[in-house]
Symmetry: C2
């Protein structure tokens, strides 16, 4: 069993490099910090790494400031634990030292994981890498601490969207329950992770909502923002992600579209869908993604892009809807 | 033990009236439907009641259309199970028949419950009445069905705000996990319960965000909406509740304020707070509420109210903040 092999390796070795993927989220950082603290509790030497910048909103987690952005030496410490990373490309500047390590322990829950490790502890049934780390810590018989529980709770809550996504399984909820045996400040955590946003986001949201239009008998909603708006409010690209979900959260809307005007001849289009496979539409414009969240980039003026995309979206919805009517 | 007394009563009696509180939420309706279906499975005769209008967004729940708004006959069926109702006043038109019933089983989790039952199964430690119903069904050894699990999941998810509030306990998560042994469509449920809103809400939000201002070094945020705006967009008073939370979700903001201009000489003021007890401020204007969510109504023109409230809010925050600095 893979878990047992990882347990044995950890018991044998004295020192470890731990690393998360680039643009890390709560699952990646939470898993990194929880496993890092646990290994230290076992008397191991531990170095934590994450490529690029860390999300500031996770800075309250214990150990956050000990995560380094460079300097992994896999010649000196040849065992690497890679967390929540489906592909070595996502390790950015750590790709090379990791791939040269003697032991690469690939701990992940992405179904797309490329099995690049010497041990691949990959469980696509797990809601989050944090859920796998919890099981690993149990197998290692590490006593949990409040900060380990907090980090793992952040991991699971993040990847399930506070238990709203379909990866919210009975197993995920049981692990979350076990973590809650420590008195975590749930409402404070949830506010930090999910509800709190900078003022710039709300300024941008206001302008975006002012452009909100419904099409195709209310089945399609669109909003438009631009690089210029982003700059004017000091908003970040990640704020765009928060805004696109608003299009799909309108009662009756099946397809949400966000136009992001990069410049006069380039528009990024983001799609969200409830039922119909929207990646097909993105694919028509050389984009891609998942059935319910996809995107593409079109090198044409906004007015042209808008007209094309809305026409295609309406036609996609109509054929989906007609097929449904025929079935019933 | 109270639970055992309820079990015995249910086993003895052939027929039951079940009733929720007025303006019922997901916990109230979910508990009502789950217990109703379970009792029917046990061969009991069951009548379901809820005073006034039901929330449309719960209409997908099995049995929803069987809930009656009138006609409870406690002379014919003298056993009433009252769900999630802290006070008989909240039973509205059912108050009288309920209080005349031979057996009133008061099943609730509100700490303010007035113990008006002949049996009071009240557990303030429970996250939701649905959590108590789950334990009752286990004690009754009723086999669960997908629809019972869905109704109870809705109950617990609603009252914990999708596991974001501080009543999210290990016990609540374990019950949710047990319910998820049935394959519920979690993301669909979450979207219906938490994320989906009518177009009118987003139109109102846009206008509200256009009035967003920060005060007191960014510690206080205010927005203004009016009865006239509500009417113009066809929005409902409940949409206001959704909007006020936006004031507190801005990074750095400690006190959020929503002014609702009822008419030229009347303003309702809603408060949200992170740390400071805001009910004190509402109290100064003959209002009230909880430490982190309160409100008041002032019979003065908007400009006057706004100036008064902002001055008081800034002074409240300053004294709280200074006290904190002295402590540390």
């Amino acid at each position: 069993m893979k878990l047992q092999r990882v347990v044995e390796l950890i018991e044998q070795e004295p020192a470890f490099n731990l690393v998360s993927h680039v643009l890390p989220d709560g699952d990646s950082i939470g898993s990194l910090l929880a496993l890092g603290e646990a290994l230290q509790k076992l008397g191991k030497k531990v170095a934590l790494f994450s490529p690029g910048t860390l999300p500031k909103k996770l800075s309250f987690l214990k150990g956050y400031s000990s995560i380094a952005g460079a300097g992994m030496d896999t010649a000196a410490t040849p065992v690497v634990l890679v967390l929540d990373c489906s592909d070595p490309e996502r390790l950015d500047l750590f790709r090379e030292p990791v791939l040269q390590a003697r032991e690469i322990v690939n701990i992940d829950h992405h179904v797309t994981n490329r099995s690049y490790g010497t041990i691949n502890l990959v469980d696509p049934q797990a809601s989050a890498t944090g859920e796998i780390i919890f099981r690993l810590l149990q197998a290692l018989r590490v006593p949990l601490t409040a900060s380990i529980c907090e980090a793992l709770y952040v991991a699971i809550a993040t990847d399930t969207g506070s238990f709203k996504y379909d990866n919210t399984t009975a197993a995920a909820l049981r692990v979350a329950a076990a973590l809650l045996e420590y008195p975590l400040k749930i409402s404070e955590l949830a506010q930090r992770l999910f509800d709190e946003r900078p003022l710039a986001f709300y300024r941008l949201l206001q302008e975006a909502l002012a452009t909100l239009e419904l099409h195709g008998n209310g089945k399609i909603a669109s909003m438009t923002v631009s690089r210029e708006m982003l700059a004017r409010h000091g908003a970040a690209m990640e704020d765009i992600e928060g805004i696109i979900n608003y299009t799909r959260n309108i009662e009756g809307v099946e397809i949400g579209i966000l136009f992001f005007v990069e410049n006069p001849s380039e528009v990024k289009v983001g799609f969200r869908s409830r039922q119909v496979d929207i990646s097909v539409l993105a694919g028509k414009f050389n984009g891609g993604g998942h059935p319910k969240a996809a995107g593409c980039r079109i090198y044409s003026p906004y007015a042209v892009v808008r007209e094309q995309i809305l026409r295609e979206a309406e036609s996609l919805w109509e054929s989906y809807d007609n097929a449904g009517k025929e079935r019933s």
